[in-house]
Structures are given as C-alpha cells and as structure tokens.
Symmetry: C2
Subunit: 640 residues, 2 copies
C-alpha cells in the first residue's frame, strides 16, 4: 500500500500550550464554557433522554435530534481539558454524562439519545442524524480513552460501531445506507486508529464510497419510509436535491464544494483519513480538488466557509457577501480539521496557512473573550439596524446558547486541544506548524525530544525555540514560514541562517545535530498588510482587508463611529500597529477619510459634491469584535 | 371646507402625446401588450370564472384571486388606448371583457371573479382581495366611461359600490371591515369624482379612517372565520403582524412607510384624495409625512420603492441594497400616483421631480422596448450568476408574464395615459409638469387654451411650447424647472426672460397676456451628473450614479464586459454624452479603470498590489437595460 502521508501529528497528550494568547481562552473554556454546556445539556433534556426506552410523547417531548451530537463534543472537550487542567467538578460531570450514555445504550449496542421505535431505527438516515450522533460519541470516547486510559466508554461505542458494521456494508443482507450529515466517517477512522480494528476502517470506507452510488439510497429510503409510516423530514421540506447532503453524485465525481458546509468538510476530512489509511490516491485527489475549490473560490478572508444562511451552505464561486456572510463557526472549525489532515499528507504550508487563518480569525470570533457567548454565523460586516440580531443564527451580537448549539462545544473541543494542530513528526524530524508558547514531546530519531516555544504570537514577531533531545542526535527541525510573512529571519544558537535555500513548501528545514539547550530564533516580520480579493469577488472590489501576521482586522463602531461603510482608507495612508494593553491585542491605526455626515439634512440623493474629511481609523483583530458592546463592524474597507 | 388643493390635473382625454420617445412605447403597448394581456387573461381562466355561480372545484380550479385585478387594469389601459388610437380588435376584446364581468355580476351587485360561497363573502378581507379587485374594476369602468361615454360598465360597478356602501360603514348593523390590499380607497374616490355620488366619498373615507381602529377588524375577522370554517390564509402563513397591510396602527398615527409597498402607496394615494375632498388637513399632513419618509429615506435613485422581496416591502431607513433590490414595477408606478396627487395639492416641483424620476427610470425599466417582456423587480445591480434569474419575481431578464401578473397591466395603463401626468390647471393658469411632445387643451381664463410642446426630451435640452388661446387672454404659464437641472434658460417670443425672480417651488411663472402663436422656449441644461447617496445608504458609499436630465444610467455587461463591480470611475474622468441611433437614446462614455483580471491564477486573496488599467466605460439609460441580451448590470459605480 502506498504511503500517502508524509507527516504524523503529535498527539494532543504530548503538547502543552502556555502563553498569553491562549491561556485566557483555555481558562475561560474550562471555567465557563464547559460547565455552561453541561448545565444546558442537562436542562434541554438530552441527558435524561438517554434513559428512555422509547419515544413517549405522553411523558415528554423527545429532545431535538440535532442537540445530541453536542454531548459527544462536550465529552471530547472535557477530556482534553481535564487531562491538562484537572477540575473535580467537571470530572464529576463528565463521569455523569458518560454513565448516562452507557446506561442508555440498548442491549444490541445501539446508541441514540432520542430512542426511536426499533422499526424506525436507521429508517430516516437522511435527516435524523443517527450516525452523526454516534460519531460524536465515538470522538468523545476516543478522547476520553486517550485522556484517562479508561476503556468503558470506548468499549461502549465499539459495541455500537460493531452493530453498525454488522448492519451496514456491501455484503448481502446489509443496508447500503449512509448518514445525511457526514461525521461518522472521520469518527470511525478515529476509532480505527485508537483500536486498530480493521472493521471500522472498512465501515468508514464504505460510508465514503457508498454515498450516492446508484440506486440512490436516500430515494429508496424515502419510499420505504413512506410505506412504513415513518415520519420523513428534510431540511427544506423538499425532497430531491441532494447537494445539501453532498449526495448529488459520488464523492469521487464531485468537482466543487457544495451544500451544507459543515457536512461537506466533515465528509472530506473523513475521506482524507480513509484515503490515507487505504492508500487511495484517487480519493485523495478528489479531496485536494475540493480543497482547491473551497479555499481558492469559496473562502472568506477570515478562514470562513459556507457563505449562505440558506442551507448553511456554499453558493457559487467567488460569492462571498459580507453583511450576510454565514461562515458558521462549526464550518470554520471543520476547515481546520480538513486543513490539518491534508497538511499531514503533503507537508505543504498552504494547508497550515489556511488552518492558521481559520483558527485566529473565523474560529476564535465564534466565542467571546470571557467564554460566555458565541457566534453561530461570522459576518464580515455587521449592521445591527438590519435587525438580523433578532435571529440567533445570524445575530450581530454573541449569544449564550442556540437552539441548535453545535458551535459552542465544537469551539470548546478545539480550544481544549489547540496544541494538537501545532506539531507533526516526519521520517526525519519535527514540523512546527503553529507558533504558540508551550512545549511538545515528540518521538524523533528514536528518542523523546522536547521542544519548547517562547513567543508572544500572534502579536510579536519573534519565536524562540529550545530543542532538548535526551542525547545529542541528528534530525530536522522544520519551521513553517507563513504565507503571510514577507520577510523572515532565522538564527540557530545566535547565528544567522539563510532561509532561502533551506525552505521548501513553506517550511524551513534545519538539519543538524541537536544537543540539549540548542536555541532557535525565528523572526516573522509582521508589517500590516492590505489584502485585496480576487476581482471576481464582486463584494470586495475597491476594498482592502487589513492583516497583520495571521490576524485579520476589522473596524468597530465603538472605535470608529457609526456608518463604517463610508470610511475610506487611502492607498497612501500609513498603517501603524501598537499593542493595546486593555484589549490585550495589537491594534492598527491610520488616517482615513469619511464624508461629512452632517449637512445632508433630509437629502437622499444629490450631485456628488462631498468633500472627505480626515477621520481616525482604528482596527482591532476580527476575532475580538463584539467584546466591547454591540455595534457596526466591517472587515473590507474601501480604498479610494 | 378648506380648499387643500392648488391644482387640478388636466384630464387624459384632453392631452395628446406625440414624440419620438413615447410613440414607440405607446405603439408597443397597444399592439403587443394589450392583446397579450387579453389572451393571457383568457387563458388563465379569469374571464370564464366571472360566469361561475360558485366555486366548483369539481369543474375547475378557481383562478388565483390575485389575477383578478389585472382585468380591471386591462380595461383601464384599453380605454385610454382606444380613445386615442382606435383599434377594432382591441375594442372587440374590451367589449368582451366588460360584458363578461357584467354578465357575471350577482343580482345584488356583487362582483368578484372568483365567486365565493355567499357565506364566505367579505369573510377574509385581509387576504382575498375582494375590494382590491372591485377597485380595479371601478378604475376600469371610470376610464371606459371617460373614453366612450358609455355608462353600462360604470353603472355595474356603481351597483357593486352601492352594495358595499350598504354593508360597510360605522352605522349600526354594518361591517367595519376594510381590505388587506388597499386600492378600493382611491378607486372609490375616482368613482365619486366621476359620478358625484357622495356615498362613495363617504365609503372611501370610512375605509381610510377605519383601518386599524380598535377593536382590530382583522383579528375579529380571523376569529369569526375560524369559527365559520372559512379557509384563512395570510401572506406569510403567520397571523398577527399587520405592518404588511399598513394596519399596525391607524393611518394618522403612522410615521414611516412600512409593509407591502404597493399597498402602502395605493393607501396613501386614496388618503390624499379623501383628504382633499373632505378638507382634512390632518390626513394630508399624515400623507406628507409618509411621503417624506419614503422619498427621503426609502427610495432608490431610479424612483423605486420597497427594497425587500420578503413581503415586497419597505425595510428600514436608508436600507437600499442594489443587487437584491425589489422595487416592484407596480410600487414604482404607485409612487407616480402618489406624487401626482400631492403635486396637485402643493404645486411643488418636489413631487414632480419624484414622479419624473420614477417614470423615466424605475417604471419604464419594467417593460422591454418591444413591449413583450416585463420586470417585476427592478434591481439596481444584476449578477445573473447568482441564479436569481430562475425566479420570475426577481429575475435578471424580463419575462413574458408572471404567476401574479400585476405589473404588466399596470405599466400598460400608465403608458396609455402618460399624458395625464403632464399638465394641471390652477386658478391662474396652466402648469406644465412633464415635458413631452404633443398638445393639451386646457380650460383657462374662461376658454380652451391649446398648448403644444415640441421637444426631444429626455435626450435634448430644448422644449418649445406654442400657446394658443382662442382669444388673447392674461394667464400664467408655469413651467417646471426640474430639480436635476443646474441651469435653465427661458425665452418668450425669442426674448430672454430671467428665471430667478419668477421661479417658486420649481415652477417658472410666465404671467402675461397670451395671444395665438406665442412661443416659449425653455432650455434645460443636461450636463451628465454624478449623483451621490446620503452617507447612511451603506451600499452606495464611495459610489456614484450617473444621471443626465431625468434619466439615470447603468452599465451593462454587453458594453463593459463582465465583472462590472470592479470598474471604477475616477473623480476627474470626463463624462461625454452622445446620442446613439441604434439604441435611440443618449449614452454616456468615460475613461474608467479596472484591475487586470488576468494574472490572479487561482489566488483568492493577496497583498494589495493591483495596478488599475484604463477601461472604456459606456453607460446606457437604466430603463433600457436588458434589451440587448442578458448579462450583468450596475447602477452605482465606484468612484475612487
């Protein structure tokens, strides 16, 4: 079997993150977000519902099936968090959640917190999320096992996976179904990797390959459900358009990222895993093709994807509206998952660039600094007067929770395991993808090598790494030179090293014999940059976004007054960056222009005559917006 | 009773229009649009349905109630057209339509082409459009009477009006209802003016005043309908939000133009009529207040209103999105109706400016040059790749017809009677509001005075008027100096007259003794103007619209290539206007700039570095767009 994978991520258990940027976020996550999620999961009835034998509408309304995957994500987040930062209360909650799920598992292994009549089981895969839910339980169980070494939850989800494997596949008598909401594919691959059980790999591959084979399973399922009286629901009340589910044609024939963005990216992520573990170059080529389409034509500058609220979906190439941007937090997180997987395959900084862009912008914007409030959609322009704030999913102010609360636990698990995205090992050494203070223990050259990072990334330009092999050894240290960086310099033990000849695919390879205490200093120039979008992005013509390091900036009303759309940043205006202690972030200032809003009276249109007046412009990191009250926000600024 | 009205419009029967701009439109209207509408009304079953005694679903599906007002508008258009341009075929069709309506009228006078069970009559006023339909029949009957002198149709609608008056009002035993779709108010006022019957005035006033008095009639109606088993439908499936119907509070308390735009403007138009005929200054103040809100904060530069497709409605102040602009043709026509009414009240050019803006832009854009295809929504930017062309109501190419075909007959009646908007008489003379070739016969100073206009308006600057009183007489000729005009000059019998001292409220008053053959020449400078929008219109910041005379311009893909959003028109670029014979219109050219679209490869974002290259810009009148094939269109052009 061909080896399609150049890198192996260093497991989250081997990475510690400890720096001024991440510490408050990790802290808020475990002291606010995790307990909040537990409380709300309890309140909305999901925890109790696991104990039900059956739907019993006389007793209570079953919890919305969409709520259920949140629990698995919560266990996953809690597992990551507790392993690094023990907390008795959260540990008790985690044990409670796991014991309820296990207690509620049916005798044959079936897990679903919304216990259907047995005849309804797997009868509406297109929209009941049965596998999606199990997938998140599996991800939670794998993390729990990695965190605690305890097998009881892992064993439980294995029994469920075994049941699924016994019932789904190409063998005679098995169902040829797959879930309307992909997720089980990547979860099953995690379970395979955790247990080594090849049946889980086989099942994941089946789910990927079977999707929209003819005859169309979803169409057959709909016919059977109608005959059997199973209540069928589809997202838009209309059957027949399978783009939403990425089931319009077999994955290998798909050319563009279409449909519900989270589903799409979970599917592609699972497909990369399957391709890598089965040596399937064709499937990998499919994933790379879809990656190109989505990152080169359908991605916001904040690393957000899925531009339309309608179907939470991709629309068409270069269609990236700003005020109505959806860019769901979950989709942006899923973009991190996919980028991380393809990065391992190709060891190409292109993937790390997108991963970093998403993390520092469209993902972190999804949670407030205090960890208490969340964005579901991540607009690139906010105009509260539009009234979209009335609707949680497209709000212009973060919310404590959502009817469908997929995003909060998703961001919780990402923050709790952020270190896992930072490092990989290759055959010859250690890759550093992301710069964050802390340390990694990696197996390199037959021993455990510890590398410590000291940095004030993403605000400061310098990253210091100390490399500590147990005994001197020759290996590579590969440092990512980010795509946004126009000028980088490197020193090894104080001595300058020219980057040009050692850099390939955005990684600078330092090949040498390393001894304890070796010091590496990388300086990544962080000049403020004006970014322009491809001319086909009609919304951004004549506009620039500001970026410094990996951080994309925005204007907020609190700094710049109302009517941000009328601010213009002249081409020649100097952009200054300075660290703002109150905000704990670097902010950008410039001399901009705006029309005099006074003097118009009640005039709506008039012959163009307005002079522009100097106006101080202050831009803050996009991910920090709406932490200082509500108001307008704008990413793309007019550049006259 | 105070006289609240300074002017009286000269009746359409006394005006002839004959010039190079209007002739082809009037011609297309009568040779294409009218027969097409007749054929389609016949085909969709409306004509037959008048003969039904009853809903009989076994026989056939009743025509959609929304279709029905179209027939009244068609009669109105046909009446105007036939009086000026006899056509035997259309005359036969008109007789056919009228005879079917009369034949279908119930014994008690009830007219509705979708004959409800008698117990359902007036039981769902909020959404069945019963009065709206009758209103259009009344408007048709009045026009037919004015055109032919025949009373049979007028008498029929009077019987229906009598029935309504006997059943609706504040007297004990009468219903206190009003229609969900205003229109009957202005129609009843037309009937009052045509017949002199004061009960019609009383009923119109009742409908205006009663709207959303407490108790809320629509709420009571819904309760009663539910009890009686009358099927209730509301536009959005939700009861309770009465803004859509302008029934959220009594009209006199309304501060902003809200809800369905056509309904709003029909209601306000009817209210102006009632106010004027009853000397009701408070009601007039309400209408002026709503006028100000809608024209100073909620109107597109094309004279279009109702910016959202959702509810075909107004949204909020300064919310005027371009690509998703709704600006329904009917709403823009209704804006002409309202402007025309308020113009008579105040004799202020402000109203004529809006009326003219709507006519030459957002109204005429609704019909193709050949009269065969129509826009329902009038976008201010078209991007066909968005796929909105799949939906008739928001199409980016004109359609032959619509499921709800309110707009085509509305524009047909406007074009057929365009002359009625051009002139008014005051106590002292003749007002000329609109410049168009042709003649008017007006009663001034105790005699019929004929004024002839010769002009190539809106393309050429000069308007020549010859004033022909039967005998020499002293009176005023008041010529509108349009708001868009920066420099006007006037000559009377070849002698220059200074405008400054004789111009008030945008009308130049020429007071003198007129004799047959007197010549007036008005020259209205038509420099191309860049128009800017109020800074609060966030969509138009940094952009300009081009306007010359009353005509607003746009860019089309056929002239300027794809990706119009990337074109920029520098502040200092010279704008040249020249008449294009092929298009029969003045076009504007300039040297613009655009980024090189090549060289981007698959890059989506990059540090701003693009140079701009010269690009020829060619703008055509907005009302003419989409007459030369489909493609992008743009009104607001970036001005760096």
């Amino acid at each position: 079997m061909p080896n399609l994978k150049k890198l192996t991520p260093v497991a989250w258990t081997q990475v510690d993150v400890d720096d001024a940027f991440w510490n408050p976020r990790i802290h808020a996550n475990r002291t606010v977000t995790l307990p909040l999620e537990y409380a709300l999961n309890k309140k909305n009835g999901v925890l109790d519902a696991y104990q039900w034998d059956w739907w019993d509408l006389a007793k209570s309304k079953p919890p919305w099936h969409i709520w259920v995957g949140d629990l698995g994500k919560w266990i996953e987040a809690a597992s990551y968090s507790l392993a690094k930062h023990p907390d008795a209360a959260v540990a008790t909650q985690m044990d409670d959640v796991i014991s309820r799920i296990i207690k509620g598992q049916k005798e044959d292994g079936y897990i679903y917190p919304n216990p259907l009549p047995k005849s309804w089981r797997w009868a509406n895969l297109v929209s009941w999320h049965e596998f999606y839910e199990v997938g998140h339980d599996i991800e939670g169980a794998v993390a729990h096992y990695q965190a605690t070494g305890q097998r009881h939850f892992l064993d439980a989800v294995c029994r469920c996976a075994d049941l699924m494997e016994a019932n789904f596949g190409t063998e005679p008598g098995k169902k040829r179904g797959y879930d309307g909401h992909p997720e089980i594919e990547l979860a099953m691959m995690k379970l395979y990797r955790a247990t080594g059980e090849p049946r889980y790999l086989k099942l994941a591959k089946f789910f990927v390959d079977e999707r929209r084979r003819e005859p169309n399973y979803f169409a057959l399922e709909a016919q059977a459900a109608t005959r059997a009286g199973v209540p069928l629901t589809t997202w838009d009340g209309k059957p027949g358009d399978y783009h939403y589910y990425q089931a319009h044609k077999p994955l290998r024939q798909q050319e563009q990222a279409v449909g519900h963005a989270v589903r799409a990216l979970y599917l592609y992520s699972g497909a990369v895993d399957v391709a890598v573990e089965t040596g399937d170059g064709e499937l990998l080529a499919t994933c790379r093709r879809l990656w190109k389409n989505l990152t080169r034509r359908r991605m916001y500058v904040i690393g957000g994807v899925g531009s339309s609220q309608h179907g939470e979906a991709f629309t068409f190439d270069y269609d990236l509206p700003n005020e109505t941007a959806y860019a769901e937090t979950c989709a942006n997180i899923a973009l991190v998952f996919l980028a991380h997987r393809l990065l391992q395959v190709d060891a190409d900084g292109e993937y790390a660039d997108v991963m970093e862009r998403a993390i520092y912008n469209g993902v972190l914007s999804g949670i407030s600094l205090d960890g208490r409030r969340f964005f579901y959609a991540n607009h690139l322009a906010a105009f509260p007067a539009s009234g979209s704030d009335k609707f949680d999913a497209v709000a212009t102010s973060r919310r404590e929770w959502f009817g469908c609360a997929c995003c909060p636990p998703n961001i919780a698990r990402l923050i709790a395991s952020i270190g896992q995205y930072a490092y990989s090992t290759s055959a010859t050494g250690l890759y550093v993808h992301l710069y964050m203070g802390g340390s990694v223990h990696a197996q390199i050259a037959g021993q455990t090598v510890t590398v410590r990072q000291q940095t004030q990334y993403p605000w400061k330009e310098t990253v210091r790494l100390s490399v500590d092999p147990q005994t001197p050894a020759t290996f590579d240290l590969l440092l990512r030179i980010p795509g946004w960086c126009r000028r980088a310099t490197l020193k090894v033990n104080g001595k300058a090293v020219a980057l040009k000849n050692i850099t390939r695919k955005s990684y600078a390879r330092i090949h040498r014999q390393w001894s304890q205490g070796d010091q590496v200093e990388l300086t990544l120039s962080m000049l403020v940059q004006r970014i322009e979008a491809n001319p086909n992005v009609r919304m951004d013509c004549g506009k620039v976004a500001l970026q410094r390091g990996p951080v994309v900036y925005c204007l907020e009303e609190i700094d710049n007054g109302k009517n941000l759309a009328d601010l213009a940043l002249p081409r020649q205006a100097k952009l200054s960056a300075a660290f703002d202690k109150k905000l704990s972030a670097t902010v950008i200032t410039a001399k901009a222009l705006r029309r005099q809003p006074a003097g118009w009276g009640d005039t709506l249109y008039r012959p163009a005559q307005s002079a522009t007046h100097p106006a101080a412009l202050r831009a803050v990191p996009y991910c920090l917006w709406n932490n200082r009250g509500d108001g307008e926000m704008l990413v793309w600024i007019r550049q006259p």
